[in-house]
Amino acid sequence: MTSVLYDVPGPRAIARNRVLAVVTILVVLAAVGFVVYRMTITGQFSAEKWYVFTFSNVWTGIFKALGATLSAFALAAVLSITLGFVLAIGRLSDHAWVRIPVTAITELFRAVPVLVLMMLLYYGLPVVGVKMDAYWAVVLALMAYNGSVLAEVLRAGIESLPRGQREAGFAIGLRKSGVMRLILFPQAVRAMLPVIVAQLVVTMKDTALGFIITYPELLYYAKLLSSQQGRPILQSAFVIGGIYIIMCLILSGVAKWVEVKTRHSPKVKALQVDAEAVMHEGTDTELLVAQRPERKRRR
């Protein structure tokens, strides 16, 4: 798509592009080089700074912390998808007494920062006598936030379906629940699968917020390591950060793969025009809300 912005470069453009390429490389090298240089002269590459990583029980600790991160992520993912379905169904309900409270709850959960939700559960609830594990504070806060975002995703998916689908469902004698379960949701989930997986990447990233409320996950362990011999804070940030980035890249890769897969599927192709307006970039569900009115306009 971007290639339509410019012609096939002629000799002068080629020369200019070469200069720009060299400038880009130089700027990037200068920035990276400066950091590496500072790291070298402050002794960040010395053996004693990396010494802790030669111990096997440090690695056992890292794997344990990784397990804590993954278990919070897994439960939060399952719960938020479940909550997403519940809230989406509630918001699409024909009864105002269901629809209005559910809409309010969805909007509320989306407006409050996840960290404040976590803090409310972890530091706030003990005041009223409910003591909560940091694990549950992380999981429940992630569930509330991502569940409400996923509810919006699913609702957008259902609303992007052609009206005929629902009407045909009623015409063959299905009830409302049957139309939802057998006709609308399967198609909506299919069209929205890339966005749903992308939202799971957000969930994975947000488990790192558990660090702030002292849930002993990966980043917390990185901080713990930095009090070890040699104070290897940058080093543990690099090792732990690498683990985070690899996990998120894998999940993003899955999202991308699903997106390519669905795009080529003939069953979804018909919906693609509408779904694309909702998905926008396909990776950032925050954009989704903004795109909704645009989609309506298109119709």
Binding site: T24, I25, V128, V201, K205, A237, G241, L287, A290, P293
Partner: protein, 218 residues
């Protein structure tokens, strides 16, 4: 109500710090995001590559980790001292810049191909194709998602609370640790949540207004 009026000084400081992180981080995000967004659509393959790597790398890094690098990692490099607030602003700016860049790129892609082709057909070079034809049209479709990015940025400022920046989400600890301050954690956090809900609703309202005003009739 005591929790508000007994700690008015703390609330003022916290709110101003939150807004400082928000606005300063927003400026960095915009400037850097525009540069990276331009790199991602530029005719120079290397620049495109650098932009793509930056966006993919930072987008797949938890914000807390970016903060971790800046707040705990930066002092290790023996560079001039910066306050935690400053480092937090840098971290959040660099993180949000990737989202700004993606919104811009997506906005450019919403401009119909014919527009760029027509501009090129009348002989405009890349720079003028962008500034005279594509960007003015892209701008309109960029505004609503850009507001969403800034809403997310506002909510993300709370992460700074975990890194000793005294902003809204850090208020709980400040009030709790001081013996003579009224209010318990629950009250403080509920008020903080309310402040965020109000701010976010305000921004979504602005988003809707801007959207209606700049709607493109196509």
């Amino acid at each position: 109500m005591d929790v508000i009026f007994g700690n008015l000084d703390l609330w003022a400081e916290a709110l101003s710090n939150t807004l400082l992180v928000f606005f300063a981080g927003g400026v960095i995000a915009l400037v850097l995001g525009i540069i990276v967004g331009a790199m991602r659509v530029s005719p120079v393959p290397i620049a495109r590559g650098v932009g793509t790597v930056y966006v993919n790398l930072v987008r797949n890094t938890p914000l807390t980790l970016v903060f971790f690098f800046f707040v705990f990692g930066y002092p290790q490099l023996g560079l001039p001292d910066l306050s935690n607030t400053m480092l937090g602003i840098l971290a959040i700016g660099i993180y949000t810049a990737t989202y700004v860049a993606e919104v811009l790129r997506a906005g450019i892609n919403t401009v119909p191909v014919g527009q760029a082709e027509a501009a090129r057909a009348i002989g405009l070079p890349f720079g003028q194709v962008m500034t005279l034809v594509i960007l003015p049209q892209a701008f309109r479709s960029v505004v609503p998602p850009m507001m969403s990015v800034f809403i997310a940025l506002l909510k993300n400022t709370t992460v700074a609370a975990g890194f000793a920046v005294s902003e809204l989400a850090a208020l709980r600890a400040t009030v709790n640790d001081a013996a003579d301050r009224p209010g318990n954690p629950m009250e403080v956090l509920l008020w903080v949540a309310l402040v965020f809900v109000v701010l976010v609703l305000l921004m979504s309202w602005a988003q809707n207004r801007l959207e209606n005003r700049w709607r493109i009739a196509r």
